[in-house]
Amino acid sequence: MKLLQIISIIASIIFYSASSYAINTNEYNISLNPNEVLLEVHGIVCSFCSFGVQKKLSKLPFVDLSKYKKGSHIEIEKQRVTIAIKPNEQVNIKLIYDSIISGGYDPKQAWISDSSGKITHYDGGK
């Protein structure tokens, strides 16, 4: 069973390395174009995560599908989701949160940029 013990040790190293990835929102350098929403989403770390969330978000009526990829851009290293909003459309942050939760992830906070570029912080938790 030496092999299994070696596996366990390797897995331990991976876990402790992974711990260093815990997000620090203070490091966020918020920079948004007008008509965008930026979210911090916990757990969004892989390609399939991105695909599932983009798929859910693309069904929202106020998302501008002509921008980014189906209207959103996801950075898995930073757990950030940027959503393009159609000009003159009202953002429904609850619908965005619900879409991400149904995708299997946890939205923690959001920054909403209106058409003038003014940024509003939304700390809605889950």
């Binding site: 992974a18 990835y21 770390v45 892989c46 995560c49 599932g52 990829k69 149904s102 299997g104």
Partner: protein, 294 residues
């Protein structure tokens, strides 16, 4: 069906390693997708194994009759996600197998092909998301339905309705991934008195994500797969490929993905093998797959 002492020690050893690894683990591709509600996916996977190496216990022995066995299985696998915590899966194999068997001290060639036994599973998952770490505990009851043929001198199925149970934990970060999966299959007695014996298994995957492009959602994923199996000895009238014994296999896995499409290639060599009495080695294993989710 009371396990003997050696089986029990092996099981305790696996379980203790499982729980030791549990606190540190991660996850594989059809496990991680689709997590989203009403998501579904398919995977086509080709698996090949076999050898002409005759074993006596864990030692190679002479094979003057040229005995051998090769098996190719094409799996069609599917998954539907009701909600992140509840999925249903199926696996349908198409088997193409051949062997040279010792029948009354004569080398006899046998082969068979056809649909194998259909497997349904219901993975129940508990997810946790914490910053750049996502993990889940999974409990999966499964049933194997005897859709394969049990007739002929080299049947594909033993014709039994089998029950399986799996406990797993997986953890993933943007760079790393681990999976630990402990499972047990109760193989019931099938047609013509055939009884393949129960199976205990442990799979461990350690993954690394060297490249990902956020703009087009493409990347490369590499894993080391380690599989341990303990198969009870089948009874003397069992004519399927089941042979019983213990083995540990390990090898690399390479995955390429773009959005919802994944290509996977895997090679596993035998790190340890012990056959019950005299029998053919399972041999090294190669599999390749393409998966797609919607």
């Amino acid at each position: 069906m009371i396990p003997n002492k050696k089986t029990l020690i092996f099981a305790i050893s696996l379980i203790s390693n499982f729980f030791y690894s549990l606190s540190y683990a991660h996850q594989p591709v059809m496990d991680m997708a689709p997590r989203w509600e009403e998501g579904y996916g398919f995977q086509l996977r080709q698996e090949s194994f076999g050898s002409d190496k005759l074993m006596n216990g864990n030692s190679k022995t002479s094979n003057p009759l040229g005995l051998k066995r090769y098996v190719n299985i094409t799996w069609l696998e599917g998954v539907y996600t009701f909600k992140p915590s509840t999925r249903i899966t199926f696996k349908m194999p198409y088997v193409n197998q051949s062997r040279t068997k010792n029948v009354n001290a004569q080398a006899v060639k046998q082969k068979n092909s056809g649909v194998g036994d259909l497997i349904f599973g219901v993975p129940l998952k508990y997810y946790r998301n914490n910053g750049a770490i996502t993990d889940n505990f999974s409990f999966t009851p499964s049933i194997r339905i005897p859709t394969g043929s049990s007739s002929g001198d080299f049947p594909i199925s033993d014709g039994s309705l089998d029950l399986g149970l799996s406990f797993s934990h997986s953890l993933e970060t943007p760079k790393y991934y681990t999976l630990v999966d402990l499972f047990y299959w109760i193989n019931n007695e099938g047609k013509y008195g055939m009884h393949e014996g129960n199976e205990l298994g442990l799979d461990v995957n350690l993954g690394y994500h060297p490249y990902h492009n956020n703009d087009n959602n493409t990347g490369i994923f590499m894993m080391l797969d380690i599989s341990a199996r303990h198969n009870e000895k089948p009874n003397s009238v069992t004519l399927t490929t089941a042979s019983g014994g213990k083995r540990i296999q390990t090898g690399p896995v390479l995955m390429l993905y773009k959005d919802n499409i994944m290509l996977r290639a895997e090679y596993k060599f035998l790190a340890y093998e012990k056959i019950n009495a005299v029998g053919l080695s399972r041999g090294n294993e190669f599999s390749a797959a393409i998966g797609i989710t919607f």
